[in-house]
C-alpha cells in the first residue's frame, strides 16, 4: 500500500476581483502520509486555512482552484461533482474549526448533530447511531457521556465543546483530519488536553492529521513533519526535528530563532524585519526577498521551487541558497 494518503500538487487558488486576480495560494506542493501528523505553520494570511478549504472542497466563491490537483488515496478529488465530493467530506476528510463556540448548531442537541453525521456516512439505524454517539463522546473524554448526549451546545464549556467537535469530525471515520487552529480560541489550560485527544484518537484509528497552529510548542510535541507557509507558498517542508531544530530556509530560521521556548506565538515574532506582503503586492522572484538577510540577484528574478536539501533526507526547501547546480 502506498504510504502517501494525500498529495497536493501545484495547487493554485485565486480570487477574481473587479480589476485583477489575486493569487492566494501559489503552487502549493505537499504530501500527507498515512497515520502522520503534518504540522502547518505560517503567519496570519499565509494561506493555511485556504489550503484546508481547498482540500475539502469548500472554498467560498469567488475563490477557486485555478490550477493543480489534489489526490486522496489515489483518487483525484479537486474536480469531483458536488454529490461525490459530499460523500468524501466527513467520510474521508474530517475538519475541525478554530472556534468551538460557533462550530456547533446552537439549537440542535449534541445527539441530533452526532446521529445525523453518523447516519450520513455509516449504515446504522437511529439506535445504533445513538450508541455510536455515546462511544464517540466517551472516546473524546466527555464525562457522563450518555447523560450529556441530549444536551445543547451551550451546556458545555469551550474545551468540552471542542471535544464534541472532534467527535463530530471523527463520526464518519475519516482517513484525514484537517484541524485548523483547534486550540487558538481555547483557554491555555485546556489546549494541551485537546491536542492530546486529537493525537490519541487519530493514532488509534490510523488517521492522518493536518494540524494548523500558531503554537510551535504544539508542533514540536505533536507533529511528525511540518510545512512552513509564506505568502501562499510552501517555504520549507520536512521532519519536525530538522525544520524546528535545524531549519534551512532563511524564513524558517528567523521563525524558529525568534521563538524562545516561552513565546510560542508566531504572530508576535519580531526578529525578521518587515512583514509578509499583501496578496496584491507579492514581489517578483522569491516572495521573501525583501526581508531576507541572504538575498542575492537571482532571488529578485526567479521564483525558487521546492528542492531537496542535501544532507537532510526528506527535507525540501524553496530557496536558491540550496540550489546545487548554481553553487557547484
Amino acid at each position: 500500500m502506498n504510504d502517501v494518503l494525500l498529495s497536493v500538487r501545484d495547487l493554485v487558488v485565486e480570487f477574481p476581483k473587479r480589476d485583477k486576480v489575486l493569487t492566494a495560494l501559489d503552487h502549493i506542493n505537499l504530501e500527507v502520509r498515512r497515520g502522520e501528523i503534518l504540522g502547518m505553520v505560517g503567519e496570519s494570511g499565509a494561506g493555511k486555512s485556504l489550503t484546508g478549504a481547498a482540500i475539502i472542497g469548500l472554498l467560498e466563491p469567488p475563490g477557486r482552484i485555478a490550477h493543480g490537483e489534489i489526490v486522496l488515496d489515489g483518487q483525484r478529488i479537486d474536480n469531483l461533482p458536488y454529490g461525490q465530493m459530499r460523500r468524501i467530506r466527513g467520510r474521508k476528510i474530517g475538519m475541525v474549526f478554530q472556534d468551538p463556540l460557533t462550530s456547533l448548531n446552537p439549537i440542535l442537541t449534541i445527539a441530533e448533530q452526532l446521529i445525523e453525521t453518523i447516519r450520513t456516512h455509516l449504515p446504522m439505524n437511529e439506535k445504533q447511531a445513538r450508541e455510536r454517539a455515546v462511544e464517540l463522546l466517551e472516546e473524546v473524554g466527555i464525562p457522563a457521556a450518555r447523560r450529556r448526549l441530549d444536551d445543547y451546545p451551550h451546556h458545555f464549556s469551550g474545551g468540552m465543546r471542542q471535544r464534541v467537535v472532534i467527535a463530530l469530525a471523527l463520526a464518519g471515520e475519516p482517513d484525514l483530519i484537517i484541524a485548523d487552529e483547534p486550540t487558538t480560541a481555547l483557554d491555555v489550560s485546556v489546549q494541551a488536553q485537546i491536542i492530546d485527544v486529537l493525537k490519541r484518537l487519530c493514532r488509534d484509528r490510523g488517521a492522518s492529521v493536518i494540524l494548523v497552529t500558531h503554537d510551535m510548542g504544539v508542533i514540536a510535541e505533536a507533529a511528525d513533519r511540518v510545512a512552513v507557509l509564506y505568502a501562499g507558498r510552501v517555504a520549507e517542508i520536512g521532519p519536525v526535528r530538522q525544520v524546528v531544530k535545524d531549519p534551512s530556509h532563511p524564513y524558517t530560521v528567523g521563525l524558529m530563532g525568534s521563538i524562545p521556548s516561552v513565546v510560542h506565538d508566531i504572530d508576535r515574532l519580531t526578529q525578521i524585519p518587515g512583514s509578509m506582503p499583501r496578496l496584491d503586492n507579492i514581489p517578483q522572484g522569491c516572495a521573501f526577498n525583501p526581508r531576507c538577510s541572504q538575498v542575492h540577484d537571482r532571488c529578485y528574478r526567479d521564483r525558487p521551487n521546492l528542492i531537496a536539501v542535501e544532507s537532510k533526507p526528506d527535507n525540501q526547501v524553496a530557496c536558491w541558497l540550496f540550489d546545487e547546480r548554481a553553487s557547484s
Binding site: I88, R89, G94, P106, I107, T117
Partner: protein
C-alpha cells in the same frame, strides 16, 4: 420562565392601562357626550340630571376607574350612532376582520418565508433578482393603491373576482359568521387578503432572506458542510430553524399590524369588519365606538406580543432553564 411571564404580564397591563386612558380621554375632549345623547330641545336641567346620573360630575380618577372596570367586562357603553351596545356591534363585525387577517397573515407568512428562503439560496439567480425587484415595488406602493390596482385588474377588467363585500356568509355559531364555506365568500376574500398581506409578505421575505444569508455564513453551517451532510438538511433543517428564530418576533408584531392596518383595506373593499366600523365611527364622532376600537387593537398587540415571547422561549433552547 414563570418570572419572565409575570414580568411580561405586568408590562402588558401597564400598556393596556395607558391605552385605556387615551380611550377614556376621548370622551373628555371629543365633543360633549350629553349633547350626543339628548336632543337639542333638552333643557339645562335635564342635561344636568343626566350628567349627574351618568357620573360625569365625579372626579376624573373615579370616572377612569369606572371606565376601566366596565371595559374589562367588555362594556363600552352605547354607540351614539347606532344606539346599540358597542360590544355587540363589534362582536358582530369582528369575525369578518379576523378572518381576513388570518388569511392574509397565512398568505404573507407562507409566501414570505418561502420566497425569502428561495432568494437566499439562489442568491444570484435571475428569478431571485426579479423577485427582489418586484418586492421593492411592493414595499413602496401604498396599500390603497395596491387594492385599487387589484380591483381594476381582477374585478373590473378580467371580472374574475368580486370587488367589494364579503360575499355570502354562513353563521356557524351565535358569535361567528364565516365566508370560508361558500364559493362567493372565498372569492371575496382573495383580493382583500392579498392587498392586506402584500406589504407584510415583502417585509417577511426580506427579513428571512437577510437572516438566512447571515446564518449560511456561520461556522456551524460550514462545519455541517464539512461533515458531508445532505444539502437539503443543511438548508432546511440546520439553517432554516436558526433563521426563523429571530424572524418570529418581528413576524409576530407584523401580524398585529395586519389587524390594525385592516382599516385601509376594509375601506377600499367595503369589507364589513371592525376597521370599516372604526372609519365610520370617526366620521360620525361616535366616541364609545372609537374608544372601544382603540382598546381592542391594543389588546390584540399585547396578546400577540405575549404569545411571541412564549413561543420564542419554547423554540430557543438557550432561553430555557438549564437542565443541570
Amino acid at each position: 420562565m414563570l418570572a419572565m411571564l409575570i414580568r411580561r404580564l405586568i408590562q402588558s397591563i401597564v400598556v393596556m392601562l395607558v391605552v385605556a386612558f387615551i380611550a377614556f380621554s376621548l370622551f373628555q375632549f371629543v365633543g360633549d357626550p350629553i349633547n350626543n345623547m339628548v336632543g337639542q330641545e333638552a333643557s339645562a336641567q335635564e342635561r344636568a340630571e343626566l350628567r349627574e346620573r351618568l357620573g360625569l360630575n365625579d372626579p376624573i380618577p373615579i370616572q377612569f376607574m369606572r371606565f376601566v372596570g366596565n371595559a374589562a367586562q367588555g362594556n363600552f357603553g352605547i354607540s351614539y350612532r347606532m344606539a346599540r351596545p358597542v360590544s355587540a356591534v363589534i362582536a358582530e363585525r369582528l369575525p369578518a376582520t379576523l378572518e381576513l387577517a388570518m388569511i392574509s397573515a397565512f398568505f404573507a407568512l407562507s409566501m414570505g418565508i418561502g420566497l425569502g428562503v428561495y432568494t437566499a439560496l439562489k442568491r444570484s439567480g435571475v428569478l431571485s433578482n426579479f423577485i427582489m425587484t418586484v418586492s421593492l415595488i411592493g414595499v413602496s406602493l401604498p396599500t390603497f393603491l395596491i387594492g385599487i390596482l387589484l380591483i381594476y385588474i381582477f374585478a373590473v377588467e378580467l371580472r374574475w373576482l368580486p370587488s367589494f363585500g364579503r360575499g355570502q356568509v354562513v353563521r356557524i355559531s351565535d358569535w361567528w359568521t364565516t365566508g370560508l364555506l361558500t364559493p362567493s365568500g372565498r372569492a371575496s376574500l382573495i383580493l382583500p387578503a392579498i392587498t392586506l398581506g402584500l406589504f407584510q409578505l415583502t417585509l417577511i421575505m426580506r427579513l428571512v432572506r437577510a437572516e438566512m444569508l447571515e446564518v449560511l455564513r456561520t461556522d456551524y453551517i460550514k462545519f455541517a458542510r464539512a461533515r458531508g451532510l445532505a444539502q437539503r438538511s443543511i438548508h432546511f433543517h440546520h439553517a432554516l430553524k436558526n433563521t426563523l428564530l429571530p424572524v418570529i418576533t418581528i413576524t409576530g408584531l407584523q401580524l398585529g399590524t395586519i389587524i390594525a392596518f385592516a382599516i385601509i383595506t376594509e375601506t377600499v373593499f367595503q369589507w364589513p369588519g371592525v376597521g370599516l366600523l372604526f372609519i365610520n365611527a370617526i366620521r360620525f364622532v361616535d366616541v364609545p365606538m372609537m374608544s372601544a376600537y382603540l382598546v381592542l387593537i391594543a389588546l390584540v398587540f399585547v396578546v400577540i406580543n405575549l404569545i411571541v415571547d412564549v413561543l420564542y422561549f419554547v423554540v430557543d433552547p438557550r432561553l430555557r432553564a438549564t437542565k443541570h
